[in-house]
């Protein structure tokens, strides 16, 4: 957690425009998984192409932040930049390998899932630090019970039940049973 992690997107954008380098670090941190997932899951880019897209998207964000009309619309703007850049990468690839010209590059259903996943990730921020760590390590980082237990100093035999409890809390958070977390983004 940094002092910027509780800022809304609009506040973050304003801080970035003012030249706050920590705000920029937070913006990259907040959206790095999203851009990565669109490139790799949504458009199935290779690692090399995905890395080019990733760096190019953040360069464009940095250079064009002043052109964003609605500071709270950061996420759709980033999604649009990333999708366009992925399509460019695929188009240039198909020019290099004409045999693939007939392939249609359509947005996969995974792209819709990525949007849902981002909403879930935002809700995750409303849980305790331990729950956030546990769910992220188990699901997103694919760590074993043993690794999680060692790194969080928790008996590994209790990890499964803790994960189940944290998932339940996450579901409640998403269903609005819990009040929104303080400083929730958006």
């Amino acid at each position: 957690m940094t002092r910027h992690s509780s800022l809304t997107d609009a506040e973050l954008v304003r801080a970035c425009r003012a030249g706050d380098s920590e705000a920029w670090n937070e913006l990259v941190e907040r959206y790095s998984r999203y851009v990565y997932a669109i490139a790799v899951r949504g458009f199935r880019l290779s690692d090399d192409d995905a890395e080019d897209v990733f760096q190019d998207v953040f360069t464009r964000i940095y250079l064009r932040l002043d052109s964003l009309r609605d500071d709270s619309a950061l996420r759709p703007w980033i999604a649009q930049l990333t999708r366009r850049r992925c399509l460019d990468a695929l188009a240039s690839k198909s020019r290099e390998t004409p045999a693939e010209d007939e392939l249609m590059y359509e947005e996969t259903s995974d792209l819709t899932d990525v949007e849902e996943a981002f909403a879930v990730r935002e809700a995750l921020a409303g849980l305790s630090e331990t729950c956030q760590e546990m769910l992220d390590r188990f699901f997103a980082r694919d760590q074993s019970y043993r690794t999680i237990g060692e790194e969080l100093d928790i008996p590994s035999g209790t990890i499964a039940s803790r994960i189940a409890r944290c998932l339940g809390r996450l579901r409640e958070q998403l269903e609005g049973r819990n009040p929104p977390a303080e400083g929730s983004r958006g």
């Binding site: 998984r33 899951r41 990733f54 940095y62 997103a140 998932l167 339940g168 996450l170 579901r171």
Partner: protein, 85 residues
């Protein structure tokens, strides 16, 4: 919000957003520094024809001689700029 009522589905969605490779994230975070380096090199090349000629002759060596250590992307951009201007 019933679409999230299934915890198994929540697990699937959490798996969809793994961390981006740490090196990529770091490079993106350091990008403002890279941009400043790029701007400095380009404005110097515009003002100093000898420096520009040295860049055209051997970009990496000319930059190293002046103490610049830009990454690959910045090098590519400078190369593009020198070719197109």
């Amino acid at each position: 919000m019933t679409r999230f009522s299934n915890e198994e589905r929540l697990g699937v969605l959490l798996r969809l957003l793994p961390p981006a490779p740490a090196g990529w994230v770091r490079a993106a975070q350091e990008m403002p520094i890279a941009r400043r380096t790029f701007d400095e090199i380009v404005s110097r090349a515009e003002a100093d024809l000898a420096f520009r000629a040295a860049l055209v002759a051997d970009l990496e060596q000319a930059l190293a001689a002046e103490g610049f250590e830009p990454d690959r992307r910045v090098l590519d951009e400078i190369r593009d700029r020198l070719t197109n201007n």
